[in-house]
């Protein structure tokens, strides 16, 4: 039975439970709601909660656990010599899964009936012929043991499905029945429901933690896997990045880190002065009218998707820079994709980021400090430079650090605008590449997932995660420390 149907059935049981339990509670109070402990609907909600919550939990756990268990059991039946022949057990199991799906398709297409598909003594050549007819690709890895394993997997899947359906529906019915039994006039249904809802709220809030744990674990496991097949000393020590999918690649992180930092520095060199001066003007000089127009307009820049900036870099800014600095002009630039292109465009993207954060911080500087400065005869700009900015400095540093972490983690602009060559060079008009761009290219290629060329992306992701997280924590620390001084 499809999962959707199970969900619908559980909801239906819950709904029936709602009506029945509510009616029973009302009956126990002589059909007068005033004699009940809780409002009548709470008794109903209780039934729904008892029916649906454990059933859905069971469903989720089963759906996650069953494939793992089944695969383990099927893998154990494969003879050792077959496993040895194939390159790895994972590869063989992938084949088993494919054949199992192929059998399903074949039954659905009508070239095979259910009996034959599950018949363990069925003729191998006949089966493969029928599978081919159903559009299945039969590789040389498909052998008799693989076919048998696939049949076993199908059977196990089917019985697991059946038992899951039975168990989930049974749990739902039992929950509804339990709630119904408890529905007496003095039973504190509201408290029970509210406790249940509260746990759901806690669960929702914990998803943030689960996400972080998921990120850390998925990065960590694959990074460890990577370092098992590729020495960490070379990853952190080598100065060349030249992946070759045939093997023998050199995967040093430094060229990528250098590209990342170079582009980020250029981006900040564009964004920080413009953003900071814009924030100063908007918060200290601008009239309300100018402010109400200019601020949202600048913030549009922050709402534009990064792919748009990427295209802007590749097709507008790149050719423009090439015309000025390329062979026709100064001759420094070979192609439109370069550190400068990506850095400039990323700077434009970061302007509103710097300006709105600094704006808030400048506004938080108490007016009394400005007034004191004016009273001593300072002009407005002297006040800003010598009183407001020093007071706001920690916050502004925090904003710049946050912008830096944005720049380091930015992907689409560098993928499209910075080029693909990993090199250590000082010329900002040369193409370089970054950590994020290489994560994309290593994981979207055709590389085998177990090869160091693909796994290196996780090590790069880990590096990126650690750097950006560190910058954020540091920035928030500075901002918080600053806030305490004036509030």
């Amino acid at each position: 039975m499809p999962v959707l149907w199970i969900i619908l059935i559980v909801i239906a049981i819950g709904a029936v439970g709602y009506v029945a339990t509510r009616a029973r509670a009302m009956a126990s109070a002589g059909n007068d709601a005033r004699h009940l402990h809780s409002l009548p609907s709470y008794y109903g909600y209780m039934a729904f909660l008892f029916a649906a919550a454990p059933a859905f939990l069971l469903l989720i756990v089963w759906l996650i656990a069953a494939p793992l268990v089944i695969e383990k059991r099927v893998a154990a039946t494969l003879p050792a010599d077959v496993v040895e022949q194939a390159a790895s057990q994972n590869l063989l199991m992938a084949e088993v899964r494919r054949v199992a799906v192929g059998l399903d398709n074949a039954v659905a297409a009508g070239v095979m009936d259910e009996d034959l598909a599950s018949n363990a003594r069925a003729d191998f050549t006949d089966m493969t012929a029928r599978l081919k007819e159903a559009g299945q690709v039969i590789t040389q890895n498909v052998t008799t043991p693989v076919l048998r394993a696939a049949q076993m997997m199908r059977e196990a899947n089917a019985s697991s499905r059946l038992w899951m359906t039975i168990a989930v529906i049974a749990v739902a019915i039992a929950g509804a029945a339990l709630a119904m039994m408890r529905a007496q006039r003095d039973y504190r249904a509201r408290n029970v429901v509210e406790r249940g809802v509260r746990w759901m709220l806690v669960g929702a809030a914990s998803i943030a933690i689960l996400t972080t744990v998921g990120i850390v674990l998925s990065l960590l496991f694959n990074t460890i896997e990577f370092f098992r097949i590729y020495p960490a000393s070379e990853f952190f020590g080598s100065l060349t990045w030249s992946p070759s999918f045939g093997g023998g690649s050199e995967l040093g992180i430094w060229p990528l880190l250098w590209g990342t930092l170079y582009i980020s520095v250029i981006a900040l060199a564009v964004a920080v002065p413009i953003g900071l001066f814009a924030a100063i003007y908007l918060s200290e000089y601008a009239s309300n009218r100018v402010r109400s127009v200019a601020k949202p307009l600048l913030e549009i820049l922050a709402g534009i998707p990064t792919i748009v900036y990427g295209l802007f870099a590749l097709l507008t800014v790149g050719p423009l820079l090439l015309a000025a600095f390329g062979d026709g002009g100064l001759g420094w630039m070979q192609s439109g994709t370069a550190v400068m292109t990506a850095g400039l465009v990323m700077g434009i993207m970061l302007i509103p980021f710097v300006s709105s954060l600094s704006d808030d911080i400048i506004n938080a500087v108490p007016q009394a400090m400005r007034d004191g400065s004016y009273g001593l005869g300072a002009t407005q700009s002297e006040t800003i430079r010598q009183v407001v900015l020093p007071a706001a400095l920690p916050g502004i540093v925090g904003a710049v650090l946050l912008a830096a972490s944005r720049a380091i983690g930015e992907t689409m602009i560098v993928v499209l605008g910075a080029g693909a060559a990993a090199r250590l060079s000082l010329n900002p008009f040369e193409a370089m590449t970054t950590v994020t761009a290489k994560i994309v290219s290593q994981l979207t290629g055709d590389a085998d997932f177990a090869s160091p060329e693909a796994l290196v992306a996780f090590a790069l992701g880990m590096t990126l995660f650690v750097i950006t997280l560190g910058l954020n924590v540091f920035a928030l620390y500075i901002v918080r420390k600053y806030r305490e001084q004036y509030d």
Partner: protein, 440 residues
């Protein structure tokens, strides 16, 4: 400015004349102001450049160059074309002979070569063949065909290709452009709005003219559905807990720090998470909008939680106190009174979060939702979630990464479509805020 007075010598000046030092200070003031104005001007200038380059390069994507021609294919011709080995080539030939005959009849370009027409027309054979296979009744009747011209001819009209830069190749030679001009004068070649771009699917690298963004719009739609259905309830529940119920303890602190850190994790890291957890570990199908939606949900959750908490905080405590005062439980006070009052703010935040998710590209590339997957419309509602598809930004990226210049125009056009969606979503959010926001 204690040191200022200490260092400068005593000056005897008049109040009516400005001394040099004051002049200097005033000039510095004016300069400082000018820097500020320049910074804002520069920011706005970038915005204008961005907008004009999007519009200038993107609008041509919405028009296409078509050749319209009345044609009459007889049963004999149809049978002959169908009997051959290269069926579409047979149709192409048929079309070219007919067009050539008509041209000569009309007196335009007596010297038009058949292969020139072939170059101008691109690939008409398959269009014609599928038309006649679907409408066998039309055989023997006069039908008006409106067929796309080749992408180079299209480029000639859009300024991509011109006489000076054209290098003769097997795709187009300079003399063909004269034929094109003649055909345009005769009204056979026209430009019209390209519905195919809005409704179409991605096409192969050799067929930029046939590529459309429709399928990936559908992919984006299904992804946004997943994001909305998951992130709104989870985000609201999490914010209610953190804002209304959470005790001040270590666990709550950890959650809070986590959420603010997650908001700053680069999007590509979420892509890695999706790849490792949803595809590798959980075995969900690759390139499916369902997986994309899950990844974007995790990414949008912090945004939604932060804005929801702000709008819950904006509801004054007196509302809660009044509800508690007449005997509501804490849960009832929150769900019956605070939440409805905070709803407009929550909705606004959710829409803005969705708009952010809609424009996100990098994580989608990692889970396989690249543009060239968007070859088919999904078969149905359920299939829409699990069948491989792309999303608008990923489709744009795929076009931008192709080498044919004609695809760049499609990418810019795709950006206009994407920005229109974002604009609509943000406009709805602003209207909601204006209409329902309450100041206490």
């Amino acid at each position: 400015m204690a040191d200022a007075t200490a260092n400068s010598p005593r000056r005897h000046g008049s109040l009516t004349t400005t001394d040099p030092r004051t002049k200097r200070r005033n000039a510095a003031e004016a300069r400082f102001r000018a820097y500020g104005i320049a910074a804002i001007g520069l920011g706005l200038f970038f915005l204008v450049v961005l907008a004009t380059s999007i519009i200038r390069s993107g609008v041509p994507a919405f028009t296409t160059t078509v050749v319209s021609l009345e044609m009459n294919v007889s049963q004999a011709e149809y049978d002959e074309a169908e009997s051959g080995m290269l069926k579409t080539a047979a149709y192409t030939k048929l079309f070219i002979t007919k067009l050539g005959a008509q041209l000569r009849e009309a007196g335009i370009g007596d010297d038009v070569q058949d292969d020139a027409i072939e170059r101008i027309m691109g690939k008409v054979g398959s269009d014609m063949r599928s038309f006649y296979q679907e409408n066998p009744d039309s055989i023997g009747e006069t039908v008006t065909f409106t067929l796309n011209a080749s992408s180079r001819v299209d480029g000639y009209f859009k300024g991509r290709v011109n006489r000076e830069t054209l290098v003769d190749s097997r795709f187009l030679v300079a003399t063909d452009l004269d034929v094109v001009d003649a055909l345009t004068e005769a009204g056979i070649i026209t430009r019209q709005f390209d519905w195919g771009f809005l409704t179409g699917k991605d096409a192969g690298v050799d067929n930029p003219g046939g590529a459309g963004i429709g399928a990936s719009v559908i992919g984006s739609f299904f992804m946004m559905l997943v994001v909305l259905v998951l992130s709104l309830p989870i985000g609201v529940a999490a914010s209610i807990y953190l804002e209304e119920f959470a005790p001040k303890n270590r666990w709550t602190d950890i959650i809070e720090v986590n959420i603010s850190n997650l908001a700053a994790v680069p999007s590509i890291v979420f892509g890695i998470l999706g790849l490792a957890v949803f595809i590798q570990f959980a075995g969900l199908p690759q390139s499916a909008p369902l997986v994309g939606g899950l990844v974007l949900t995790l990414m949008t959750l912090p945004t939604i939680i932060i804005s929801t908490r702000a709008s819950l905080k904006a509801v004054p405590p007196s509302i809660r106190d009044a509800a508690l005062g007449v005997g509501a439980s804490k849960m009832q006070a929150v769900f019956h009174h605070v939440l409805p009052l905070a709803a407009p703010g929550i909705l606004t935040g959710t829409i803005i979060g969705l708009a952010q998710a809609l424009g996100e590209t990098a994580p989608l590339l990692l889970i396989g939702m690249v543009g060239f997957v968007a070859r088919e419309y999904p078969g149905g509602f359920i299939e829409g979630f699990v069948e491989p598809n792309s999303a608008m930004p990923a489709q744009i990226y795929t076009w931008a990464a192709r080498s044919d210049v004609a695809f760049y125009e499609k990418a810019w056009g795709g950006i206009i479509v994407l920005l229109v969606f974002l604009l609509i979503m943000n406009a709805i959010a602003i209207v909601l805020r204006r209409r329902f926001e309450r100041r206490w």
